[in-house]
């Protein structure tokens, strides 16, 4: 297995390349099994547990963590916060990669992936929230692709095409926000139809709102988190504007995240009041719910605030990572842990190693693609030929 580096020079045996190579090799192996022997051979899915981590992680978490694209472009282009401009391209890129990988992962999960376009071309089940999710994800992936394309077009030197796309920026941004609002919230609303299966602490008439608001948190935190990583590994690719704005982006986004988390926290508490689920707080699930509520919502909220007040970028960056983890915890809770809470443990789901392998495989493809793109295209810097327009 040659190391997955797409550059022309000889692939080096760096630790990254070795690990990525192993994951990709295993992933390809599992892929073959999945598409020749079916879901039973590769997953622990059952009739009680039709959705596993390919939905719980790859879809629910993947979409939430790819929210940076719409959050950042809305801040910059709609709200006119130009000082975040240098953060837009990296966020769009990760958003685009995120959605592309979500769609890729869905091909593994659904029984007949070649029929994925059926809801739009054969028969539409418009009463389904999954229809809304599918439609918005498909459209938004297209939007992100177009939003991302200027970087690729600059790389390829196609000035005319780029100019046309750039003229569409505002329309695309607004479209992106509309579509994101819809499908981020609908991912939560998917569970509205199963009140008897999702634990009352997580089942809420507000679940769609929870998913939407927490996607904003996820988007903001991911932008900080990614930029931290990018600074570490791609510092040399960054231009002055990027470096100059980076701290401001972290501070501004940290402030926004603290504020949105505060709103999210309040809504979660009111959600308990609305469904009168207080008494469940005293149970085991209740303890876990409190861990999520206090440890992964209130704590990052407070920590972001401290970081912003003290202008302590280190605190902000660590908090961003923690808050990203909090989103993962939330999506896992809704999709896997609190779902089917009524079943005896023998009927509960735990992922097969091949499911985990595919999830890792998909993430690795994302990292490798990101690496390739930022080293080749003007993402972390502005292309010198296109400075003014």
């Amino acid at each position: 297995m040659p190391a997955p580096k797409f550059t022309l020079q000889k692939p080096a045996l760096t630790p990254f390349n070795v690990v990525a190579g192993i994951i990709l090799a295993v992933g390809l192996y599992v892929t073959v099994i999945r598409f020749t022997q079916g879901l039973a051979a590769t997953t622990n899915l059952s009739d009680y547990n039709p959705w596993g981590i390919w939905i719980g992680f790859d879809l629910l978490v993947g979409v939430a963590l790819a929210a940076g694209g719409y959050v950042t472009s809305a801040a910059c282009y709609i709200f006119g916060l130009k000082r975040f401009h240098s953060a837009v391209r990296p966020a769009i890129l990760t958003g685009f990669l995120g959605y592309a990988l979500v769609v890729l992962a869905l091909h593994y999960d659904v029984g007949r992936p070649w029929r994925l376009p059926y809801p739009f071309i054969v028969q539409s089940g418009t009463t389904s929230l999954l229809f809304e999710v599918a439609a918005c994800v498909a459209l938004y992936l297209t939007v992100l692709f177009i939003e991302f394309s200027p970087a690729a077009l600059e790389w390829l030197g196609l000035k005319r095409a780029r100019r046309i796309v750039v003229r569409l920026t505002l329309v695309l941004t607004i479209f992106g926000v509309v579509l994101s609002t819809l499908h981020q919230s609908s991912l939560g609303a998917l569970f509205l139809i199963a009140p008897s299966k999702l634990h009352p602490l997580w089942y809420s008439p507000y679940i769609a709102l929870f998913f939407f608001v927490s996607s904003v948190v996820a988007g903001l935190s991911m932008v900080i988190f990614e930029s931290t990583l990018a600074h570490r590994y791609f510092h040399d690719k960054m231009d002055d504007e990027h470096l100059r704005q980076a701290d401001g982006v972290a501070l501004g986004f940290g402030k926004a995240a603290a504020w949105v988390l505060a709103g999210y926290f309040v809504m979660k508490v009111i959600g308990i009041a609305q469904t009168d689920a207080w008494s469940y707080l005293a149970t085991g699930y209740g303890a876990w719910f409190l861990v999520e509520l206090l440890g992964f919502i209130l704590l990052p909220c407070y920590a972001f605030a401290i970081g912003v007040r003290d202008k302590n970028l280190k605190v902000i960056r660590w908090t961003a990572a923690w808050s990203v983890l909090g989103i993962v915890v939330n999506r896992f809770n809704v999709g896997l842990i609190a779902f089917n809470y009524h079943l005896p443990s023998s009927e509960r789901y735990f992922p097969h190693w091949m499911e985990i392998a595919i999830s890792l495989f998909v993430v690795t493809i994302g990292v490798v693609a990101y690496k390739f793109i930022v080293t080749h295209m003007p993402i972390l810097y502005s292309h010198p030929d296109y400075d003014a327009h």
Partner: protein, 57 residues
Amino acid sequence: MDNPIVTLHDFMLRTESITYILVVAVLVSFPFFWRFLTDRDEDSTRPDGEHSSGKHH
């Protein structure tokens, strides 16, 4: 659907399908209307992004 609608599900299938068609129509027509509304403005609050996508100001 030749039978009259007697279930909420069928009713919603009908109303939601129509709604989605309308939604698509709305989303497509908004940019054009905005353009129509603002294309004589001197200041360029036009949705062509020329002024919003600038990199360096």
